[in-house]
């Protein structure tokens, strides 16, 4: 085989005469030689308002450091894209994704750069733990998410305060649905919404003990606690008339649309999801489309005890050893760097040194304080799983819960069978069959 230089040159030479008339070919050819001031390439999963906020943050980084950045929104296909780019030996400089399980997997394959332990010094140890392999830190938590919230329209609850137990929640939903006012919106088209539901029910079952052991990789998927979680989910999702446009439509409704159903259309009363719902509401408010001021209540525990707190978030990992990615991680670790984003609604920083006063007054400060005060929280289970349970699009837990939703929510079936089927598939997937 000939040397690389020759091959590339001969290829260009062959195409040379054809390149000349092509205006677009000039930047193409120039791009062949890497410059020292290449932009820092960042993969993110954010979209819409969150993406816009991150882009503003990167503008600040560029102003302060003189470096350039290139943010690539990769959507749900982040696993496929990252693998493709690693196969191409051309990973992005940084990936900021809500998938600590994936980062651990890459770390074990030697594909993620170890971070200076100092990068995580302001982050809660339990979060750092999710991106630590063999005592080495591989990710910096950039954004935290408080994922145990119901958002509701106070007028729709008709004076009946927020439910304190899971039982109260279910009977509240039943009452409203029975009265012909569908109360619950759900973005079931997004698999992560369904896994968040499952995790919150599971976390509220036995004080979160089974949850923690599952997260640690124990094979407890066949346990009664998992059965109970699925039964409780089926109980809510199978209430006739609970979804404003019916279950089939709910299955095709995405997260942001489910928020709109409650707060732009006033079609239903309640939507479950994390603190980042506030960002969507902020956009509605800015466009003058908010139909009622939202309030929140915590996901009530299923079997007594304190309400569960499931936490997710986005973690930054260096996918190559570039100077730019090092600098950006250092910059992101500073408590003041993300102040601009924090001041907007719908962003929680995992950094403990960010003053609570930085958050927007009211709900923002309250949620930040709740997260800060929690001495124990459970990290998003589906984001930690690897292998066949790993919740990629159309795969693993996402697929199992989507089909579970489909079979219990659409009328006609007895919920027992779907529960058994879903649990069996969880067990099989965990065992790698």
């Amino acid at each position: 085989m000939t040397g690389p230089a020759v091959t590339r040159r001969s290829l260009l030479k062959a195409a040379g005469p054809l390149l000349l008339p092509a205006a677009g070919a000039v930047p193409l050819a120039a791009a062949g030689c890497a410059a020292r001031d290449d932009p820092v390439e960042i993969f993110v999963m954010w979209s819409g308002g969150e993406l816009a906020a991150f882009l503003d943050t990167m503008d600040e980084f560029e102003r302060e450091t003189g470096r350039r950045t290139r943010t690539v929104p990769v959507g749900e296909q982040v696993r496929e894209l990252l693998r493709a780019r690693f196969n191409a030996n051309n990973p992005p400089d940084l990936a900021i994704v809500p998938l600590p399980g994936l980062i651990r997997e890459y770390a074990r394959n030697g594909r993620v750069m170890e971070l200076d332990p100092a990068a995580g010094r302001h982050i809660p140890a339990s979060l750092n733990q999710t991106v630590t392999v063999d005592g080495r830190l591989y990710g910096l938590w950039v954004k935290a998410a408080h994922k145990s919230l119901f958002w509701y329209r106070p007028s729709a609850l008709a004076g009946a305060g927020p439910p304190a137990t899971w039982g109260e929640l279910v009977s509240l939903l039943r009452r409203a649905a029975g009265a012909g006012q569908p109360p619950l919106s759900i973005g079931a088209a997004d698999g992560w919404v369904l896994t968040d539901w499952f995790e919150n029910v599971l976390a509220g079952l036995d004080g979160g003990a089974t949850y923690q052991r599952l997260a640690a990789g124990e094979d407890l998927w066949a346990s009664d606690v998992v059965t109970a979680a699925l039964v409780r989910l089926a109980e809510v999702w199978s209430i006739p008339g609970v979804f404003p446009y019916g279950p089939r439509r709910a299955l095709l409704t995405q997260f942001e649309e489910s928020v709109f159903e409650v707060f732009a259309e006033c079609r239903s009363a309640v939507v479950f999801e994390g603190d980042f719902v506030d960002a969507v509401i902020g956009r509605l408010n800015a466009a003058g489309r908010l139909c009622e001021e939202p309030e929140t209540f915590r996901v009530p525990p299923v079997t007594g005890g304190p309400p569960p707190l499931v936490v997710g978030g986005d973690v930054a990992a260096r996918m190559n050893d570039s100077e730019g990615s090092r600098e950006l991680v250092e910059w992101l670790a500073r408590p003041e760097s993300l102040a601009g984003w924090i001041k907007r609604a719908g962003f929680l920083s995992p950094n403990r040194t960010v003053p609570i006063g930085t958050y927007p007054p009211g709900r923002g400060q309250q949620l930040a304080a709740e997260l800060r005060a929690a001495d124990q929280f459970l990290f998003d289970l589906s984001d930690q799983l690897g292998g066949r349970l790993s919740a990629g699009q159309g795969r693993g837990m996402t697929k199992i819960l989507t089909e579970f939703f489909q079979s219990v929510a659409t009328p006609g079936g007895h919920p027992d069978r779907p529960v058994r089927a879903a649990q069996r598939r969880l067990v099989d997937a965990a065992r790698g069959d």
Binding site: P4, A5, T7, R8, L11, A14, A15, L18, L19, A22, A23, G24, A25, L28, A31, G32, P39, E41, S47, G48, L55, V72, P73, G75, E76, R79, E80, L81, R83, A84, R85, N87, A88, N89, N90, E105, N109, A189, D190, Y245, G246, R248, L251, L252, T253, Q254, E256, E257, F260, A264, R283, L284, R289, G387, G392, Q393, G394, R395, T398, Q406
Partner: protein, 614 residues
């Protein structure tokens, strides 16, 4: 020369003694034959080299990996067993087969019917519209159809219509969901149909117009019905066109995974999944033997189908030395042929009017997805999500688009398209000339090999292809997608060009040779000028393919290069709230390929049918 009748079936030609062997001309056979064979092989070298590196070598590696690669079990047939136990694979196989077989059959049949239906319409400008859907990136088509089929009847007109109709029959208020698990694959296919149907119709129309006048009337005069006209008159002429349409669509449809990604909501992604996505969505971080095994099974299935198909249409990729042909015929868009088979009188005019109205309705219906895109792009991004149809136009979606980085990808994508299509044309022209006029040893097997190379899914060979690119130091550079695109484009380009080159009059080639031209001289001075429509068609189609590409950009792009389709796709995570920006970006991204297709539409039709219908 002109008095010779053009015969559709080479077997008839052979019986009639009208075959004129090339070797009747020129110096004594032996020495000339050896020199030609040498030149023939030399001209094949560039194409063979690129296909060897980009296709053949990676395929061999995939087959090896499927037995020995890493995975749950170490080696042997284990990967095949593992792959087969995954229930998702069954869904994907069924979906992929329906894409590769059902879609081309449906498009071919309906395309033919449309061609017959529009045969007395001379409005070639209306038919030129056919080239707009075909030229759109599938990401754009997918965006338009996802809006059309939006689960909310307020946003998705098709959903509103379907639910209203179903309501009369007593269906529930949220039924049917056109993007729901049961209907999503047909919904995706309808988008593909929308994109390709008119091209098929235009190709058939052009072929029908070349049927010698009078033959059809003669059959009718003898009391033949429409079926007999189709079977005895049209079919011998149309078989080659049908074969080209079918092959083109089979290749395009089996490559389709962009539509699944952009159109199917997350909850039905697994129902709509095709093998192209299965290979991409393996559970492990590293490439696995299982994925390779699935890839090999996929290759075997599609490869067998295509080879069987090629056997059936053997005469449709004919060896050009076996018959001679006249140069590309005058075509329907240049001179309107007098209607020969129209019944006279009042009946005709009434039927004609009905057809006109029906055609107008069809064309208007065809425009709906594009009108939707334009509407949605003119709203503020929040409007479609909250209000649906009752919104005030603003420019804010375009403003948001300007800040999204999508526009930065336009120029590099165009540059990539120009470089790739120019290279493909040159390399494929050399190889096609060799196969058409020099026929070196082994060229009989070339058709099968090229067809196979054309259908190798890039997802299957992506891993090994990277191993080939690595020692060339091309990985991660902009040259990686360039080379992959070139390798992907060459097979079909050679097949199309070979047919077109073969259609050049044999005596002109022979005369040039007698005058002492080198083979390159013959190619440059005789064949290229005679077959320029085919060359222009290949260049235009290649540019459109590269511009519209998602998968090569996804697998081989990098920090140096992101195609515009990828950038658009990245905006689509929360579809409804991104619809405004997506639609604005989709319209902008559609301008270059649509312009190219419209400018080159005559060449595309002539190029695709030359050497096919004679």
């Amino acid at each position: 020369m002109a008095a010779r009748r053009v015969i559709a079936d080479p077997r008839v030609a052979a019986r009639g003694g009208e075959v004129r062997p090339l070797d009747d001309h020129g110096p004594p056979r032996r020495s000339r034959g050896r020199a030609r064979a040498g030149a023939g092989l030399a001209l094949l070298v560039p194409a063979a080299l690129i296909l060897g590196v980009v296709v053949a070598r990676p395929v061999v590696t995939v087959v090896q990996d499927s037995f020995t690669g890493g995975g749950a079990r170490p080696a042997g047939a284990g990967h095949y067993l593992d792959a087969l136990t995954d229930p998702q694979l069954g869904t994907d196989v069924v979906n992929t087969l329906s894409w590769a077989l059902v879609v081309p059959v449906v498009v071919t049949v309906i395309g033919y019917l449309l061609a017959v239906f529009t045969r007395d319409v001379r409005a070639s400008r209306v038919l030129a519209l056919a080239f707009i859907p075909m030229a759109l990136p599938l990401v754009v088509t997918g965006t338009a159809f996802r809006i059309l089929y939006h689960p909310s009847p307020r946003l998705g007109p098709a959903t509103a219509l379907a639910q209203a109709v179903a309501g009369w029959f007593g269906a529930g208020p949220d039924q049917p969901q056109l993007l729901g698990a049961g209907l999503v694959t047909p919904a995706l296919m309808s988008a593909f149909l929308w994109a390709w149907l008119w091209l098929a119709a235009v190709l058939f129309r052009a072929a029908i117009d070349q049927i010698p006048p009078g033959v059809e009337d003669a059959v009718r005069a003898e009391g033949g019905d429409s079926w007999r006209v189709l079977r005895d008159v049209q079919w011998p002429f149309l078989r080659r066109t049908a074969a080209v349409v079918f092959m083109l669509l089979a290749v395009m449809a089996s490559r389709t995974f962009d539509l699944v990604l952009i159109m199917a909501p997350g909850s039905v992604q697994h129902s709509a999944e095709v093998l192209g996505l299965y290979v991409l969505r393996q559970p492990t971080v590293e490439a696995s033997g299982e994925a390779a095994a699935v890839g090999v099974v996929w290759l075997l299935v599609v490869g067998t189908a295509v080879l069987l198909g090629a056997r059936w249409v053997r005469y449709d990729w004919p060896a050009p030395a076996a018959t001679w042909r006249r140069s590309p015929p005058d075509s329907w868009w240049r001179r309107a042929r007098p209607g020969t088979s129209r019944p006279p009188g009042r009946v005709r005019s009434r039927r004609w009017l009905l057809r006109r109205v029906a055609l107008g309705a069809v064309v208007a219906g065809w425009a709906v997805p594009l009108v939707l895109l334009a509407l949605v792009s003119s709203y503020d991004p929040i409007e479609p999500a909250t209000r649906g149809w009752l919104a005030v136009p603003t420019g804010s979606s375009y403003q948001a688009l300007a800040g999204s980085g999508v526009l930065d990808t336009l120029l590099p994508t165009a540059g990539m398209g120009v470089v790739v299509s120019a290279t493909v044309v040159v390399v494929a022209a050399l190889a096609a000339y060799s196969l058409a006029w020099l026929r070196p040893y082994g060229s009989a097997a070339a058709t099968g090999a090229l067809l196979l190379a054309a259908i190798v899914p890039i997802q299957v060979i992506a891993g090994p292809l990277h191993d080939v690119l690595a020692p060339l130091r091309l990985q991660g550079t902009v040259l990686a997608p360039v080379l992959v695109h070139i390798g992907r484009g060459i097979p079909l380009a050679v097949l199309v060009l070979r047919n077109a080159f073969g259609a050049v009059a044999a005596d002109r080639v022979a005369r040039a040779r007698l005058d002492g031209s080198t083979e390159l001289g013959v190619l440059a001075r005789v064949v290229v000028p005679a077959a320029w429509p085919a060359l222009a068609a290949v260049a235009a189609l290649e540019f459109i393919l590269v511009w519209n590409d998602l998968v090569v950009g996804l697998l081989f792009g990098g920090s140096e290069f992101t195609p515009v389709a990828m950038a658009l796709f990245g905006q689509s995570r929360q579809f409804t709230t991104s619809a405004g920006v997506l639609a604005a970006g989709a319209l902008v991204a559609s301008v270059p390929p649509v312009l190219v297709a419209l400018l080159a539409r005559k060449a595309i039709v002539a190029g695709l049918i030359s050497g096919v219908s004679r």
